[in-house]
Amino acid sequence: MAIEVRKAGLSTTIQDMGRPGYFHLGIPEGGAMDRFSMRVANMLVGNDETAAGLEAVFMGPELEFTQDTWVAVTGATMPILLDGEEKPGWSAFPVKAGQVLNFGFLKEGARLYIAFAGGIDTPAQLGSRSTYPIGALGGVDGRAIAVGDVLPLGKPGNPAARSVDTALLREQKSPVELRVLPGLYWHRITEASQQRFFDEEWTVAPEADRMGYRFRGGSPMEFVPREQPFGAGSDPSNIVDGCYAYGSIQVPGGTEPIVLHRDAVSGGGYFTIGAVISADMDLIGQLQPNTKVRFVKVDMETALAARKARRERLQTIREALAAG
C-alpha cells in the first residue's frame, strides 16, 4: 500500500517539479532543488519525470515498505542499504513488502533524491505535492515527513531494472563554479567590487537551505555613492522593495551574498547583483556548507548554451534508459 516513515532524517520533504504560477503572491515554485537528479530518479523507476519523490538533506530517512515496489536513489552519494545490503545509486532496484531502506553517512553532495514506482501520492495543493513549510503547502500537512507518517504511492508506470551510466552524469569541479549573469542592480557596486566578486573564493555558509544559499569569505562590497531614493531605506544595500528572480544574488549590507533558490522569497528590499544561470541551479542543491565556490561571469549566449547542454544531457539519459 505504501511507505512507513521509521526515521525522518534531518529534513526530508516530498518534492516534485513545483507549483509555477503563484510567485506574484509570494508563493514560490518550489520543487526539487536538484531537478536533474529528481528527474533521473523518476526515469529509473519508470515514472513520469514530474512525479513526487523524497528530497533528503545531509542524512537519509529510514523507510519500511508495506508493498512491493521499485526504488531509485540519485543525487548525493551515501551508502544505500536495503535490509542492510548495499544497493547502487543511480539504479532502480526492486523492494519487497516488509523490507527497510536506510542510508549510511554522506560522502559527497548534499541532497538525496528517492523515487518510488508510481510516485508519492499525497494530496496536491495549487497543482503540486511539493512541500513549502513556510506557507504550510504540500507535503504531509504542509510539513516535512515525520516518524509514523504513511506515504501512499500512485499507480506504477513501467518499472524495471535500469541503471544510468555514470559517464553521462555532470562533473563537479573544485572549487565549484557557479556561472552568473550580471544584471539587476549590478551598477550599484563599484567596478573594483564587481571584479573582486568574481576573483575571490567564496565558501558556502551554514545558512543554506531551500530558500537561499549564503556565501562568505569574500570582501565587503563598495557601493557607488548616491542619495538613497525615497522609500528604499537608508542602507546603501536597500532598494524600494521589488520582485526577486530565482537564482538572483542579494547582498544585504554588501557583505554576504545569498543566492535565492527554489523556495525563494518573491521580493524584498535588498539590492541584487545578477543571477546564477538556470543551468547551474541544480548544482547549488548539492553544495555542503564549507564548500569552496567561484562565481564565473558569463553572457546570455553562454547561459543559453549551458541550458541547452543540460537539456541534451537529460535527453541522452532518457534515450539510453529507453533503449534499455
Binding site: A136, G183, L184, V240, A245, Y246, P252, G274, S278
Partner: protein
C-alpha cells in the same frame, strides 16, 4: 521617471519604472504588467507586479531573451497612456499596537537593531519627528494605505500610505534580519507598512499585530474560502487601533469562522487623489463607514 530594463539570469526580465517610490510608478508598473498579460506572449510563465517595478519570468527555450526584451519595450508606450484609476475595495484592518507578542520579539532581537535601547516604535517615532509613540501610532492609522505589492512570502501585502510625501513615515530595515516574527505582525521598512502573513524571518520594524488572518492554506477562514490569499495589489486598507479585549474577541471570531472584515467597493483615481488627498481619503472613509 526613467524606465530601466535588465535581465535576471536567463529566465527573468526586471523592469524598474523608477528607483524611488510613488503611486505614479506603481500605476505604470501595473499598466505594463496588464499589457503583458493581455499580449499573451508565448513563453511567459509569470508576471510579478511590485511597488515601482515588475518582473516577467519566461522560458528561454520558447522565446529568446532578446526577443522577450523587445516585446516588453514595445508595450511600454501603450502603458504610458493607460488610465490611472481602478475599481477596488477598502478594507478595515484592526491592529493591536504595542501588543505583548511583537514586544517580546522586539526585545529578543535588540542586538540586530539600530537603537538597542529603544523599542521599534520609540525609534520610529523619534526619527520621524514625533513627540510620543502615541502621536506616531495615530499618524500610522489615521489615513488609509494602498496595497502596492503582494509578495515576499505567502500573500504578504506591502502598503503605501495615502498622504503627501512630507507626511510619509520612513524607517530603515533591521541592521540584520530577525529569524523570527510573529504571524500577522504589522511591520514597517522604507516607506512601506507590511502585514506578515505567516511566522518567520523578517527585517521590518514591528509596531503591532492584527487578529485578522490574511493567508490560510486550509481555506477554513470564512472570507478565504475562494482563495487562500486575502490581498491583491490595488486594495486600500484602513488600520483601526484596538485594545486587548477587542483583539481577543476578533481573534475568537476569526477562529470560529464568523468574522467578516468590514469592506466596501470604491473607485481610486490617481489624478483625483493628487488634486485633493484629504477629500479623496474622506470619501474612501465614507464608503467604508457606509455613510
Amino acid at each position: 521617471m526613467k524606465t530601466r530594463y535588465t535581465f535576471g539570469g536567463d529566465e527573468h526580465i526586471f523592469v524598474e519604472m523608477d528607483d524611488e517610490m510613488s503611486l505614479e510608478a506603481f500605476f505604470k508598473a501595473i499598466a505594463i504588467s496588464r499589457a503583458v498579460q493581455a499580449a499573451k506572449i508565448e513563453g511567459v510563465t509569470e508576471i510579478l507586479p511590485a511597488n515601482a517595478s515588475f518582473e516577467v519570468r519566461f522560458n528561454p527555450d520558447i522565446i529568446h531573451p532578446d526577443d522577450m526584451m523587445a516585446r516588453l519595450k514595445a508595450l511600454e508606450s501603450a502603458a504610458n497612456n493607460a488610465e490611472r484609476r481602478m475599481t477596488t475595495r477598502i478594507v478595515e484592518m484592526p491592529v493591536y499596537y504595542q501588543d505583548p507578542w511583537t514586544h517580546e520579539t522586539v526585545m529578543r532581537f535588540r542586538e540586530r537593531h539600530q537603537d538597542p535601547n529603544a523599542t521599534d516604535l520609540e525609534y520610529a517615532a523619534r526619527i520621524n519627528g514625533y513627540d510620543s509613540v502615541e502621536a506616531f501610532i495615530e499618524a500610522h492609522h489615521s489615513n488609509p494605505w494602498f496595497v502596492s505589492m503582494v509578495g515576499f512570502v505567502s500573500g504578504l501585502p506591502f502598503l503605501y500610505q495615502l498622504v503627501e510625501r512630507e507626511k510619509q513615515i520612513e524607517v530603515p530595515k533591521y541592521l540584520r534580519p530577525r529569524t523570527d516574527t510573529p504571524k500577522q505582525t504589522v511591520g514597517y521598512g522604507g516607506c512601506f507598512s507590511c502585514v506578515y502573513s505567516v511566522r518567520g524571518a523578517g527585517g521590518y520594524q514591528m509596531f503591532g499585530i492584527t487578529p485578522m488572518t490574511i493567508y490560510d492554506p486550509t481555506q477554513k477562514t470564512s472570507y478565504l474560502k475562494d482563495f487562500m490569499v486575502f490581498f491583491k495589489p490595488g486594495d486600500i486598507v484602513k488600520f483601526r487601533p484596538i485594545d486587548r479585549a477587542e483583539y481577543d474577541s476578533i481573534l475568537a471570531q476569526v477562529e470560529a469562522g464568523t468574522y467578516a472584515p468590514r469592506m466596501a467597493e470604491v473607485e481610486f483615481d490617481l489624478e483625483g487623489f493628487n488634486a485633493d488627498m484629504a477629500g479623496t481619503n474622506a470619501k474612501l472613509m465614507e464608503a467604508l463607514n457606509g455613510n
